[in-house]
Amino acid sequence: MSLGSGLAKGLAITLRTMTRRAVTAQYPESQPELPPRSRGVIGLFEENCTVCMLCARECPDWCIYIDSHKETLPATTPGGRDRSRNVLDRFAIDFSLCMYCGICVEVCPFDALFWSPEFEYATTDISELTHEREKLRAWMWTVPEPPPLDPAAEEPKEIAAARKAAEKAAEKAARAAESGAAGPDAGEGSG
């Protein structure tokens, strides 16, 4: 491309862009449409937490604080053993340290931590960025439901397992019905 046509092209492109509408979204006036897995803030679903401490240990910033105590449950059957379990006393995430890597969410074996796209929690006091369990629970209610799978995607593991079990049971029942029709005194398939 010669020099002159390049210069003319530059002028033409800028002028054409000027006549078009800008794509800018004016944030405080118009809220952004965030994708479902946006990393805004972490919500805690307390009932699922077993105080296994995996999240706190895996956190690269060490910004998760967990306190707990052990509680003994009396045996439910006579002569049985007493059970002990962990009770959560404190669960806090310091978002002034958090680097939003999401390792805690990934590592939680019991699905107690979730990403929420809420992001407007800036404060003028850094200590308020440590969100205690009540606040983390409140964030939980802002977690959107997971997006649907792609049409051609493999089905989720738990659904696959449930489906397999159901299919097996149906097959068994069908076989039982068949053998029942052939001879009711065969005595098979009643269990």
Partner: protein, 319 residues
């Protein structure tokens, strides 16, 4: 000339000097933003950020005015004034409309205007020298080299118009103006406008400022109000160069109903040229320092000389 008349003229020039550069600055904010698919300032003042430059001014006024340890303090403080005031002086001599609608009609108007313009560029040079900073010095020297290279085509192109009109007075040139001067002096107009752009160190001729290589050239050490004065000088320079191009090459106040609306024609032509200055900044990348020199000496100077020869031939033939 009575005192009231002088006061009104001086006041009008001062108001133009304070308002027009800000309008150009705001135009640059918005036009550049939209050319890049953005919207630019939207909040200051409420309506599409009209008060953004006022807010900028308040911010600059609040900032600390620092002077480097090794700096030549007097020169360092003086430089922004040297850069800014000449443009105010030039504005006095630029005719706005017919029949003496001009701050002060100077007989050798072109000489006066071009000499004052050159002084304005000196502001950057002494700022760079006085800053005691190698980047500022590099920027200042590039400014000086650019001034040397582009002053010549600027003068030659202006001389061509003066030859055509047979006078050095700006109102005189406009009185002699005919519409066919525009195609006749087209090459001269290109040379004058381009060289003016280069003297202002506006993109694509902003190698003396070049933030990516020499911080901010001669203005590296400046902060607060003094820096704001340099910025204001840049925009005042755009207004002055655009107005001069409009007056010398595009017929200034000439146009339909120029008896009443002459001033509007001058402002309109100046505004369009200001827009072109901004447009060039957005569309084109920066030239290297050596490319800038090469462009001046191998393209603009020969073109300007050819224009002078052409003007002379036509002048002799039409007698």
């Amino acid at each position: 000339m009575d005192w009231l008349d002088v006061a009104v003229r001086v006041l009008a020039v001062l108001v133009a000097f304070l308002v027009l550069p800000l309008l150009v600055g705001q135009l640059e904010h918005k036009a550049m933003a939209h050319m890049q698919g953005r919207v630019g300032p939207m909040h200051a003042g409420g309506f599409h950020g009209w008060a953004q430059l006022v807010a900028d001014g308040v911010k600059f006024a609040q900032k600390e005015d620092t002077i480097p340890d090794g700096a030549d303090r007097l020169i360092f403080r003086l430089a922004p004034g040297v850069a800014l005031v000449p443009y105010l002086v030039v504005l006095i001599a630029i005719p706005l409309g017919p029949d003496g609608m001009v701050g002060q009609a100077v007989d050798a108007g072109i000489f006066f205007v071009l000499a004052a313009l050159g002084v304005g560029v000196l502001g950057s040079l002494i700022a760079g020298w006085a800053s005691a900073n190698k980047y500022a010095l590099l920027g200042g020297l590039r400014t000086a080299a650019q001034l040397m290279a582009y002053e010549l085509p600027l003068l030659l192109a202006a001389a061509s118009v003066a030859m055509a009109a047979g006078t050095l007075s700006l109102p005189g040139i406009l009185d002699a103006f005919e519409w066919w001067w525009v195609p006749w002096q087209l090459v001269g107009a290109f040379v004058f406008f381009t060289a003016g752009l280069a003297e202002l160190q506006r993109p694509p001729f902003d190698a003396p400022i070049a933030p990516e290589e020499i911080i901010f050239g001669a203005y590296t050490e400046y902060s607060g109000l003094r820096f704001a004065l340099f910025l204001l000088a840049e925009y005042a320079g755009i207004v002055v160069v655009s107005a001069l191009t409009a007056v010398l090459f595009l017929g200034g106040w000439h146009g339909p109903w120029s008896d009443q609306l002459g001033w509007l024609w001058t402002l309109l032509k100046t505004g369009v040229l200001c827009f072109v200055v901004i447009w060039a900044r957005v569309a084109w990348p920066r030239l290297r320092a050596d490319q800038i020199q090469k462009f001046a000496w191998t393209v603009l100077v020969p073109l300007a000389l050819a224009q002078i020869a052409f003007t002379g031939v036509i002048k002799v033939v039409t007698g």
